[in-house]
Structures are given as structure tokens and as C-alpha cells.
């Protein structure tokens, strides 16, 4: 493995994946703009760079898709997000997302984790420190809550 042609092919695959992600992040502007939040192309580029660093620091990889568009989607309607700090807050939330994934030993799905993070963010008036400091019991509580809700719905359906 590892001929020059091969490297070119791999680089072009990497580049195309990166461009896809960039487009996905920028397309989130259509939704977030309704809440007064947008990312400039340069800000989106910087965010992608920080995402790569965060993945490296937490020892994780994203192979087919990224959590970033889902994270923007989950937080963009929070009343505690301000345009001036939008890019920086997203970067911090992304850091928190990957570390909490590790801390939860991958027991939580992306959706469950994002739901828990958003709850902690709003409850603390928009503090990313509060999200980073979330206790695992609380995080896993999100899952039990969701499961209970699921059970209740099932019971209702049965009745």
C-alpha cells in the first residue's frame, strides 16, 4: 500500500469528505439564521480545524459523517447562544461532546448526548463549563428518562 497514485486517491477522498462537511455546516446557516446565528465561510473552516483537533485530543474518529451539523441543529435555538460567541461556543461544545462520549463509554447515542448537553447548557444560562462538568449519572439519567418515556408510550399504546 502507499503508491503516489494511491495517496492522491486518498487525498482526493479526504478532500471531498471535508468539502461535504463544510457544505453541511454552512447549510445549517439556513436554520440558525432564524435565530440570528450564522457562521461565515472562514468561521466554518476554523470550526472544522478545531473539530479535527478535538477528535485527535479525545482519541476519536469520524468515518462516515460528523456530529457537527447535528450539534449546530441541537443548539441553534437556545436563547443563550449569541452571534458574537457563536463560533467559540460551538467549538467548546464540540470539545465537550467528544469528551463526554468517551466518559459515557459510548453508551449514549449522539442524540441522547446532545439532548443532555442542551439541557445542561440552558439550565446554567448558557455555560459551556456546566456542560463540560456534567456528571455521568446525570447524562445516563437522560437515557433512563428517554427509556421511561418510551415505556410509558408503549404502555399507552398497549392500553
Amino acid at each position: 500500500m502507499g503508491t503516489e497514485t494511491e495517496e492522491t486517491t486518498l487525498l482526493s477522498v479526504e478532500r471531498s469528505k471535508r468539502n461535504e462537511l463544510l457544505a453541511a455546516v454552512q447549510s445549517q446557516n439556513e436554520v440558525s439564521a432564524r435565530f440570528g446565528l450564522t457562521l461565515s465561510p472562514a468561521a466554518a473552516e476554523r470550526l472544522l480545524k478545531k473539530r479535527a483537533e478535538a477528535l485527535m485530543d479525545t482519541g476519536r474518529v469520524e468515518l462516515s459523517r460528523s456530529a457537527l451539523p447535528a450539534l449546530i441543529d441541537a443548539f441553534c435555538d437556545s436563547p443563550y447562544l449569541m452571534q458574537e460567541e457563536y463560533e467559540e461556543t460551538l467549538a467548546e461544545l464540540l470539545d465537550a461532546f467528544y469528551s463526554l462520549k468517551n466518559e459515557s463509554r459510548d453508551q449514549l447515542s449522539d442524540d441522547e448526548l446532545l439532548q443532555g448537553m442542551r439541557a445542561a447548557f440552558d439550565a446554567s444560562g448558557g455555560s459551556t463549563d456546566a456542560v463540560i462538568g456534567m456528571q455521568m449519572e446525570r447524562l445516563l439519567g437522560v437515557r433512563s428518562l428517554a427509556e421511561e418515556r418510551g415505556d410509558d408510550e408503549e404502555r399507552e399504546n398497549d392500553e
Binding site: 500500500m1 497514485t5 494511491e6 474518529v61 468515518l63 467528544y98 459510548d106 449522539d110
Partner: protein, 295 residues
């Protein structure tokens, strides 16, 4: 893996776009592993998934001669490898059954625990995602250890085949004599993590070399010394011939007809050559063990 297989694998992995194909396949496997719930996974999990994918592809390529296999996509090779792993798992279950029913008439904790652990292997083995893994502890040491380069079911089946060959030999011996030999040579052999085959095989070969009945597992001290003196006078090639002949004569005496068992015993005989050479200065201690002299 033999060199033909290595060449086959090298030819395919040098194919233009192969790495990109593998990365795409890995993404799909990761997505399936996470059941679509997660976008990221730990690096070590991704690496393990990749090793599993590559191992399956290697299984598909092993001994494959058809041109179609050589031009197949990474995805097709992976699927063929999965099917091959499934076939080998079926074969492995039969081998385990054979190993359990063919246990020798002597007890050993390591052997007992390993046979139990091998059952766990078949319960926990996950070829879909981690075909290269061996999810159990294999403690019992073989006379000829399996190469650590073999992975997953390939390692397990090779281990089982060797264990069966060892047990088939041990079953040809009288349990009373075998226990006595192991006790005098190894001490508490039932509790120690030791191989039972090697001392018995060497003892039988020693008997054959001394012109005694291999099943007796006994040579006198004088015979051992004489034997040792005559062996070390040989060149390595001549010694190899003498030892191989002795192994064959043990097989004849014990009615061991299987080629695998015979080759295994020949290897055990040849393994004594460096020890015969090394023991030239400090006597024959430890070589060709024997039952204690009858009182």
C-alpha cells in the same frame, strides 16, 4: 500465511484506489457497528474494526486461485472472508468437540481450563466486526506454539489441530506410566502450567533410539548416557535423520497412522537437536526423560 498468499495480498493491496475502497468499507462497518446511533468512535475501536476487515479479506485471499478473487472489490473480498470465517467457525466447533472427547488419561488444570475457555471463544467470537480477536484466555502451552501472527479463528483452529495431535499421541500411552513419567519429570504436573506432550514424546523417542519399546517410557541411566554419547558424534544433518527415524519408529510401535500426528512428533524429535548440542558440556540432564528405574 505462505509466500504465495503474501504475494496475492500484496498484489491486491497495491491496486490503485484500494485504500479508498477499504476506507469506504470501514465507514460502512463503523456505521453498522454503531447501529447508526453515533457519528464518532474511539480510535482503538476504529483500528480494531479495520483489523477485522483486513483479516476477513486475508481469509478470502488465502489459497484463492481464481482470477475473479484478485479483481474483486474490497467489499466483495470482505463478504467472502466473512463466509470463510463462518465456515472455519463450524470446523472449529468440530475440532473442539474432538479435542474434548480425545482428552488424555491424565489431568492438568491448564488443559482443563483452556478447553473450557475455548467453548467461551465460540460463544463470544464476533466475526462480523472483530474476526481477528480471540475473546478467551488460552493458557495451556503446546509443544509447538501457534504463531502469534495467526489471528481469530485461524489461530484457534491451528491451536486445536495441534492439541488434538498431542492428545492422540498421549492417549496411546498407558495412563499409569504417563502419570509416573510426568510426576518424576515435572513434579506437580496436574497443577502446573506445563505441556504434557513434550516430555512423553521425548521419552518415547529416547526409548526408540535405545532400541526399547517406546510405550514403556523407560531407558536406564547407562543406556541414556550411551545414547547421548552416540548422538552428539553426529553432524546436524545425520542427527536429524536419526531423530526422524526414531520418531517414525515410535509411530509404528504406537500405531500412530495420521500424517499430522507423525509430522508433529518428528518436529518434537528435531527440537531436541539444539539441546543435544547445548548439553554437550553439562551432560544429558533433562534430555529424553524416562520413568524411574524399577526397584
Amino acid at each position: 500465511m505462505n509466500s504465495a498468499n503474501d504475494r496475492r495480498i500484496a498484489a491486491i493491496s497495491d491496486r490503485v484506489g484500494f485504500e479508498a475502497e477499504v476506507m469506504k468499507l470501514l465507514s460502512e462497518r463503523a456505521e453498522r457497528y454503531e447501529m447508526g446511533d453515533a457519528s464518532s468512535l474511539r480510535t482503538e475501536t476504529a483500528e480494531a474494526l479495520l483489523t477485522g476487515v483486513l483479516f476477513c479479506m486475508q481469509l478470502a485471499l488465502t489459497d484463492a486461485e481464481d482470477a475473479d478473487t484478485h479483481s474483486a472489490s474490497a467489499g466483495v473480498l470482505f463478504e467472502r472472508g466473512l463466509a470463510e470465517a463462518a465456515r472455519q467457525v463450524k470446523r472449529g466447533r468440530l475440532l473442539l468437540y474432538q479435542a474434548k472427547t480425545g482428552r488424555p488419561g491424565v489431568e492438568n488444570r491448564g488443559l482443563r481450563d483452556t478447553l473450557e475457555a475455548l467453548s467461551t471463544f465460540f460463544a463470544k467470537y464476533d466475526p462480523d466486526f472483530f474476526a481477528h480477536r480471540i475473546p478467551c484466555d488460552i493458557d495451556y502451552p503446546l509443544c509447538h506454539p501457534v504463531s502469534e501472527e495467526l489471528l481469530g479463528i485461524s489461530y484457534i483452529n491451528t491451536y486445536l489441530r495441534r492439541l488434538i495431535a498431542e492428545n492422540a499421541f498421549l492417549k496411546k500411552l498407558s495412563p499409569v506410566r504417563l502419570r509416573s513419567l510426568l510426576r518424576s519429570y515435572l513434579g506437580d504436573y496436574e497443577e502446573l502450567l506445563v505441556n504434557l506432550y513434550a516430555p512423553a514424546a521425548e521419552a518415547a523417542i529416547g526409548c526408540a533410539l535405545a532400541g526399547r519399546d517406546p510405550a514403556g517410557l523407560y531407558v536406564s541411566q547407562t543406556e541414556r548416557e550411551k545414547l547421548f554419547d552416540s548422538l552428539r558424534e553426529n553432524s546436524d544433518d545425520a542427527l536429524a535423520c536419526v531423530l526422524t527415524d526414531a520418531a517414525d519408529s515410535v509411530c509404528r510401535a504406537l500405531s500412530i497412522g495420521g500424517a499430522a500426528e507423525r509430522d508433529y512428533l518428528r518436529r518434537a524429535a528435531l527440537d531436541t537437536i539444539p539441546r543435544i548440542r547445548a548439553a554437550a558440556d553439562d551432560g544429558a540432564a533433562g534430555l529424553f526423560p524416562s520413568l524411574p528405574a524399577p526397584v
